[in-house]
Symmetry: C2
Subunit: 500 residues, 2 copies
């Protein structure tokens, strides 16, 4: 049986290496690639994904998994986890034909360039045919996967394993019931927080330098990772020991580059702290996008938009930007970076309105995939929902329906995980606070090691060994995702800021 | 038969895509990768190379090639070239076992990191075991390939197809007979050329900016390529439309970064100007390293170290470095960048002594591979030859035997192609001068388009369709490689500078 296990591992290693090679190609595509390279890159990615798919869905792997199912491994062992996670992946992946996988890969790689150009030209029409193809391929994939309750379940499951659309809808409805009126309430007193000090010119290089300082300070290991710039910030991992993050710097939207860095750094540290024994195996990754996002949102928001963090870093920030911040005190800055204001762009939204952007996408995706909404009517539907949730109408498609890269890259069913991540971030963080009550005092001294260690110990090191629900149960004392702690956090923080 | 051809093409496309993916991973490794990533990267490359090897040497491809050999394609057609080049590659590659290919890939990827560290520590002993393994793997490969005259033939053939070691020795002996006494003669009047104006501090950023200007000016298409920095300058191509070059900037060895850029730019333009119809096929590459090097050396030396080039660019260079060059006239600068002086580092050597560095490596490689020289004795043998050819003894291994990346990357039999390239560069260039006599006048106006067009038309566009000898015959009126034009060029140029 040991021999069968070794054979399985050796096959999975090649497959993982192909997938990691594809990740390098994707990273390069977003960070470095000259425009001329797009077409060939799409072909290269299609080949890598086709081959890794073919190798993975081979009958031989099915037989190995079947044989190994007989063995009674300790549930918590790496081997047991490898077999159960691979079994799940295998059963799902085998449902997609190699042709469909190849077609998806090629379409999605080229789609990002079509989208980037359409966005530049603020013209949805240029992206419409590509999106139609993306929706169609996603429908094909969902039908191939199969589902019980609704088609969207099949896609969501790729990003948030085992989560059902109906469960998401339940927590989202709970959030909506509190957040929509809260946003409306705050909108009435929008002038209570003045963020004009952020609306100055913050030079590019100084922003970059500060983001590098912060990235290293929170514990991102630059010997096993690096930061670059890209149009859309993202993180990706080629190995536990090679994790890449990107940020985007704009001189007049301070400090969004820093928050991008903290956000992607949170993702990157999750990947860096996966156990070395899992490197190069299918277990070396985040267990779900929601859990991944819980890490990025924690470092970005719970930490990066908190008073203790800035107690330590604000003097350094003032040194980096003496003309812009020399006259403002820490409290002014803290309030400014936490100003709640309905806005057009999801990635620049504050903590409270952010989730409304997610609700909008979650709902529109379902309408598109269930073909209740025509692609051509999407911009109008988008704008109507923006008006409904946030009271705003995008002046053009770039600030509306074209703002996100996800659909162009083929990802539908992904957006809800952002809000699931917000919710879980507080579930986990509240537990760390219980166990290490002086965390805020540590942050105020610029010490983040205890926080990172807790997450490494309880979450990161396990990679994909445990599901999101298992992690919640093991370390956060919850049976499942629970919106209440998050709502409590939001109400307390913003109640204080807005004196509600 | 058309169907068989299509099947072959489709299989070759996947294989090429795997190889190009590996190229992206190698580029990233040299340009971006954090040190932690080395081990996983070596594994990823090993998988890509193992799979592309397995796919290529499959019996099925052999059968297809056999069947297609029956068809009477026009020799000059893409299809005929694809079949004959693939046949040659196939017959060679099938001789290597998949295990050997995988072992080579892993050893060579890790070898570069061992070498880089050993070089940093100036300590050959740290690299010795790796080099022993590299030599052993090369011997295994050569024995597997087979050879008539000598083992070195089998390796040389990988880089300079069909070239024999004995032919190389003949041209090298002819060069040696002229160059060694010439270097000695110039060494006696080394003070005739003063290059002290280069021995000032030239700021990094201004060097980079000027190199980007020059790269674009000579015709490198930045929409289909890019330049970065790396420890050892190199060029690599992921597609006809995505060609990467690197340079290395040192503030006190001006203008070596510029010459690196011109050199790698020459390689890069060869790759960029291969016919679009060949992109993604095995024909999309240089036909031999010697021909490739003829391009890089032409742009670096025949052009970049010429009077006409600097007639145009020297005023711009003075603007970029007013403190350093404001007081020196163009002729002083021209003489300075052409100073001949025995030195320790090949890549920084002048045009005349450069070849002596190659002779040394060509000879030592043969001794190592024929096991006439023990690895442990290599540094001493290196130093003895440096003394013999250049009258110098390296003060440490970093400036001696550890200076080149090639061996650590597994490449043995590669070095001679540098001098073969020097020789061919003049064979080709003399022909362009015959056809476009006012080229130097064009250069003096900053116009390089006609030169690049000639090479695109006569050499670049064909990729690997014609061998080096076929190209020499078709476009340069020579039956084979010929040292005389190159010696004539050297004697004229340096006779003038040194008043010999």
């Amino acid at each position: 049986m040991q021999e069968k296990l070794n054979t399985l591992k050796s096959k999975l290693k090649d497959i993982t290496n192909l997938q990691k090679a594809a990740a390098v190609l994707i990273w390069d595509q977003e960070v470095n690639m000259p425009p001329g390279g797009a077409e060939a890159r799409a072909e290269q990615l299609a080949t890598l994904q086709k081959l890794s798919h073919e190798m993975f869905v081979s009958d031989e792997i099915g037989v190995l998994l079947g044989d190994l199912a007989q063995v009674d491994f300790d549930y918590d062992s790496d081997d047991a986890a490898l077999i159960r996670v691979t079994r799940r992946d295998y059963d799902k992946t085998r449902k997609l034909s190699t042709e469909l996988v190849e077609e998806m890969s090629r379409t999605f790689a080229l789609g990002q360039h079509v989208w980037a150009k359409a966005r530049q030209n603020k013209n949805f029409a240029e992206f419409q045919d590509t999106l139609a193809k993306v929706v169609d391929l996603n429908i094909q994939a969902a039908e191939a996967y199969g589902y019980d309750e609704c088609l969207y379940d099949a896609l969501l499951d790729d990003f948030e394993p085992n989560m059902k659309t109906s469960e998401v809808r339940t927590v989202f409805d709970e959030l909506k019931a509190t957040l929509v009126p809260l946003v409306a309430q705050i909108s009435e007193r929008v002038d209570a927080v003045d963020n004009s000090l952020l609306q100055q010119n913050y030079p590019n290089q100084a922003q970059w330098d500060f983001s590098m300082v912060a990235l290293e300070a929170i514990g991102f290991d630059l010997k096993r990772g690096r930061q670059d710039k890209s149009t859309h910030p993202f993180s990706i991992s080629f190995s536990v020991n090679d994790s890449r993050v990107t940020t985007r710097i704009s001189e007049d939207t301070f400090p969004s580059s820093l928050f991008s860095t903290l956000h992607e750094g949170g993702h990157g540290m999750y990947e860096q702290n996966i156990g070395q024994s899992l490197d190069g195996t299918p277990l070396a990754g985040g267990t779900s996008l929601g859990v991944h996002e819980s890490q990025s949102r924690m470092w970005e928001n719970i930490l990066g938009r908190s008073q203790p963090f800035w107690q330590f870093y604000y003097p350094q920030l003032q040194n980096a930007f003496p003309d812009q911040l020399g006259q403002a005190d820490m409290n002014q800055f803290y309030r400014a970076i936490n100003k709640v204001e309905p806005s057009l762009i999801r990635v620049e939204a504050d903590e409270v309105t952010y989730n409304l952007h997610v609700f909008l996408r979650f709902e529109l995706e379902q309408e598109l995939l269930e073909q209740r909404l025509k692609i051509a009517d999407l911009p109008a539907a988008w704008n109507a929902k923006m008006e409904e949730y946030l009271g705003l109408t995008p002046p053009d498609d770039a600030l509306g329906v074209l703002q996100d890269v996800h659909w162009s890259g083929g990802m539908m069913g992904y957006f809800p995980t952002y809000t699931l991540g917000n919710i879980m971030s507080v579930q986990f963080y509240n537990q760390t606070l219980k166990e290490i009550p002086d965390l805020p005092q540590q942050f105020a001294r610029g010490e983040f090691g205890a926080l990172l260690s807790w997450f490494t110990e309880n979450i990161h090191q396990h990679g994909r060994k445990y599901t999101a629900n298992e992690l919640l149960k093991r370390v956060a004392g919850s049976d499942t995702i629970d919106a209440k702690p998050y709502l409590g956090y939001i109400q307390q923080k913003f109640g204080e800021i807005y004196n509600l």
